[in-house]
Symmetry: C2
Subunit: 182 residues, 2 copies
Amino acid sequence: MTPRADATRNRARVLDSAHAVFAEHGLGASTEQIARHAGVGVGTVFRHFPTKEALLSAVLAARLDALADEAETLAAQGESGDGLYRLMRSAVAASSLKTAFAEALQRAGVDVSDAVAPARGRLTNTVGTLLDQAQRAGTARTDIEVRQVFALLVAATHAVTYLDDDPLRERTLDLILSALRP
Amino acid sequence: MTPRADATRNRARVLDSAHAVFAEHGLGASTEQIARHAGVGVGTVFRHFPTKEALLSAVLAARLDALADEAETLAAQGESGDGLYRLMRSAVAASSLKTAFAEALQRAGVDVSDAVAPARGRLTNTVGTLLDQAQRAGTARTDIEVRQVFALLVAATHAVTYLDDDPLRERTLDLILSALRP
DNA sequence: CTCTAATCGGAGTCACGGCTCCGTATTCTA
DNA sequence: TAGAATACGGAGCCGTGACTCCGATTAGAG
């Protein structure tokens, strides 16, 4: 049975708002804050996502999906070898405004959150491809593996969040990514 | 007036326990947990540290002090140029068991926590010296500055915490630190 | 040893956040 | 357009955690 129109609309609204609010206030943000931001009541939030953790999972899954899409596009684009770097920059940029995502990404490794697993798998695969391409093109060291790329992603995001000076942020991101180069 | 013996003893006990508990359970750990770990009542905790934030500040200040001590020892040890790397390894190791420290370090940059300021200043100075030494010895790039070293420290700590495989952790730490080399 | 002032312990208060419940409003089918 | 099914809102319940208060317990001076 397809759900009612307002139901789907509100579900999407809540998901968006949750992303925005978590990003701005960290994962400690209250459900009521999210509900207010979405212009709905708390009841609605909990009907769609029975638990705060479920909501977080859903937000995270959506983010990972988007990233995975982007990764696949880049991977399909060819063997130039800079796809990996483009992806990492974009991933860091997407979450540098938002402390929360890095936190979440980190926890996602621990949580066996079923909702997140598929997106995560897809992303892992594609990043593997990008890494291969980069290694074949000679733009990445050959002695590194995918898990290290993710670790660097977490690292870079935190470093960038830590700094407050924009040009310095840029230089530091370059610095960290340069660790991957041969 | 010098405080009573049990007062000083308990203060130290609480500080140690707070460090241990925050390290194991993150900054969300409850005051009661800390009190129990220290074998005192919550009242005692709040008498010595009127606020949870004050307690956190105190723990952080103690950690930074210890780090600053170590940094000064290394700086005095000479111009070999590897002091910087030794310090960073040790700093990461000290906090890799403990997610919390990195979190705290990060916040310390934002909070104008008076309790932390002196230790932080001391540490910044000495790391500056270590960086100078490394640059003169040719073991560090000359186009980086102290703030970037701290950013890398935060980054490395998070990367190491993120990974769960010990040898991989080691290799990844090497990878990140290699970004500093010429 | 005694007495007092400093210190302690932990039950109790208050605020806040996750989650439930149900009367009301909205969608949609016939 | 009427009626049933579905979804909504938000007051309120409950548990948790920061912080207070005061009677019980020491430390340590004399």
